[in-house]
């Protein structure tokens, strides 16, 4: 069972919810940070890192002694990553999307495989019981989706091997990184706050994720702040509100110390354990439908 914690708007509490679910989950669970641009889950779960792997993208390297400057590669490349001008061929590895087209189409076999570092994948163990996977984009690297693909592949393999559940901390937004983070999930939790920005981006996320036809649920953070339109929207679209986290300065201060919300008070810990049960129930309903 895979649950993705997503939001649309950033800073609504995705990582808070992910960490709280991970420490109260009643089955074996793998915690995965797919917000590879700004991964934060490790700041709360504090895993002991057991391995760090560099994740490469395959980019072209031209053997000029074989190149006939036929231009087949540059005509195919959609990303301006390889260019032929007269008797000069140049590659721009930072533009490359790693499709492998140039290597496959070259009639002379003149294009070999080089690499560009996308970032790293860290594996670790939190509290001796919660395995963690984190993707971390290299600063200066523009493309997060291929790094996310790598982490997702490892995530599926580990979950299949160990039979554990998975909780994904997704990136904000609704463009390709956010969509690819929720694509593997059985259930989506949308974390929002009852403010005009929170509500606006929540609607964008709901609209973006609806075509997946996965059960979507809601956690409202900073309840009591702002306005109440999100409640009407959830009622109208049958989106179950699994929990509300009250707007309290004490909670913000607790978070600012790198502590996990579920561990602030007994009732919060019980609340998140119940959210976990509810999510697993929804997932099993789907798999038996």
């Amino acid at each position: 069972m895979i649950v993705a914690v997503a939001s649309g708007k950033g800073g609504t509490g995705k990582t808070t919810v992910t960490a709280s679910l991970a420490v109260t989950w009643s089955r074996p669970v793998l915690a995965v940070d797919l917000d590879v641009e700004e991964p934060n889950l490790h700041l709360f779960l504090k895993p002991e890192i057991t391995s760090t792997e560099v994740v490469p993208l395959e980019v072209p390297v031209v053997d000029e002694s074989k190149c006939t400057y036929c231009r087949k590669c540059s005509e195919l490349c959609q990303f301006k990553a390889i260019s032929v001008m007269g008797q000069v061929i140049m590659t721009f590895p930072e533009m490359c999307h790693g499709c492998g087209g140039c290597m496959a189409i070259c009639p002379e076999g003149a294009i070999g495989v080089g690499t560009r570092e996308l970032g790293v994948m860290e594996q670790g163990m939190s509290r001796e019981t919660i395995p963690c996977l984190t993707g971390r984009l290299r600063v200066g690297e523009a493309m997060s989706p291929p790094l996310m693909r790598f982490v997702r592949g490892r995530m599926r393999a580990q979950a299949a091997q160990t039979g554990s559940d998975v909780i994904i901390d997704a990136p904000p937004g609704v463009s390709c990184p956010a969509m690819s983070a929720v694509a593997d999930s059985d259930v989506i939790i949308l974390v929002t706050e009852p403010t005009p920005f929170g509500f606006h981006d929540f609607k964008l996320a709901w609209e973006a994720f609806s075509p997946f036809e996965k059960p979507m649920t809601v956690i409202i953070n900073r309840a009591g702040l702002g306005d109440d339109r999100v409640y009407g929207f959830c009622a109208e679209h049958n989106l179950p509100i699994l929990a509300e986290i009250p707007y309290r300065r004490e909670i913000a201060e607790h978070y600012s110390k790198g502590l996990i919300l579920a561990e602030l008070a007994e009732d919060l810990s019980e609340r998140f354990a119940k959210v976990g049960q509810e999510v697993r129930r929804l997932a099993s309903e789907v798999s038996h439908a």
């Binding site: 700041l43 200066g140 523009a142 997060s144 904000p172 390709c176 600012s256």
Partner: protein, 290 residues
């Protein structure tokens, strides 16, 4: 002409609320919302759209089932796992298709079309604070970086034509494609952070990204009173790296109150938060003209 972009690394630190206040305070400028994925600035600026343009960028592969012979070459060559066969019929998942054209080039029976991709819309608008350029990327679309570059280009052309002095941009969270695009030709990045482990961690990454592009950095610490230790860490980081600490703003619900009333926080009269925000803008203006 100067270009300022407000970014944060971490989402939800107050970029848009602060940009709206700066839009209220700055003169002779065009405002630009570069968070094309989940834009919010229009909620406070209430723009009247004067021009709408379609954003067409890149292509996507579409298999014609009538021509497809089911050989599977396309699926075997796709590096994005975007092509799957259901009952022997191959289909491209548009969400996964990167638009690389490899399947189109290698299909032995030319069964794959490659139409242009309609990724979103962009707008020129008028607001109570002056002209605004903004956009909406369609859900799940790529090419947000190209749309950001497009908006910056339009804002620049507009500013030059009208003799404006400043392009004030609200940026996206993160450090990826749209943020990198937003830093191009930018004179100053205002990084809004908060005194939390995530805020500090993400500030370090996004400010180091600015370093890659030799963009000057000014830091605003929002909710600075939430955790004095973390605020000291940010102050030390600014000293060490040479970032200007432009402002310390308190944890104050007035920001949300202004948002609910669809106002910039500086439009509310006689508030401490508004006064500090004005001071922050004065510091940023001085830095821009230095």
């Amino acid at each position: 002409m100067r270009e300022v972009v407000v970014i944060s690394g971490k989402g939800g630190t107050g970029k848009t609320s602060l940009t709206a206040a700066f839009a209220h305070l700055a003169e002779n400028k065009v405002v630009c919302d570069l968070d094309v994925d989940a834009p919010d600035l229009h909620l406070l600026l209430d723009p009247t759209v004067t021009r709408t343009e379609e954003f067409i960028s890149g292509h996507e592969a579409v298999i014609d089932p009538e021509k497809c012979t089911g050989c599977g070459i396309c699926a075997s060559m796709c590096r994005y796992d975007a092509i799957d066969a259901v009952d022997g019929v191959y289909r491209v998942d548009p969400l996964r298709c990167e638009g690389c054209k490899v399947c189109v080039a290698f299909c032995p029976v030319e069964a794959i079309d490659f139409p242009a991709r309609h990724c979103g819309q962009w707008y020129m608008s008028e607001t109570r604070f002056g002209p605004m350029v903004h956009a909406q990327l369609f859900p799940g679309q790529e090419n947000s970086g190209l749309l950001v570059s497009r908006l910056k280009k339009e804002a620049r052309a507009f500013a030059e034509a009208k003799g404006l002095d400043l392009i004030l941009c609200d940026g996206a969270p993160g450090i990826g494609c749209p943020v990198i695009a937003s830093l191009s030709q930018t004179d100053l990045a205002v990084v809004v952070t908060e005194p939390t482990p995530s805020g500090v961690h993400d500030l370090e990454r996004v400010a180091s990204l600015c370093g890659h592009f030799r963009t000057k950095v000014a830091v605003v610490v929002n909710k600075y009173d939430l955790n004095p230790d973390q605020t000291h860490r940010i102050e030390a980081l600014c000293r060490e790296k040479g970032y200007t600490l432009a402002a310390l703003l308190p944890h104050d619900t007035i920001v949300t109150e202004a948002m609910v009333r669809r106002l910039a926080v500086t439009e509310l009269e006689n508030t401490d938060f508004g006064r500090l925000t004005r001071e922050a803008w004065a510091t940023i203006t001085a830095l821009l003209n230095a």
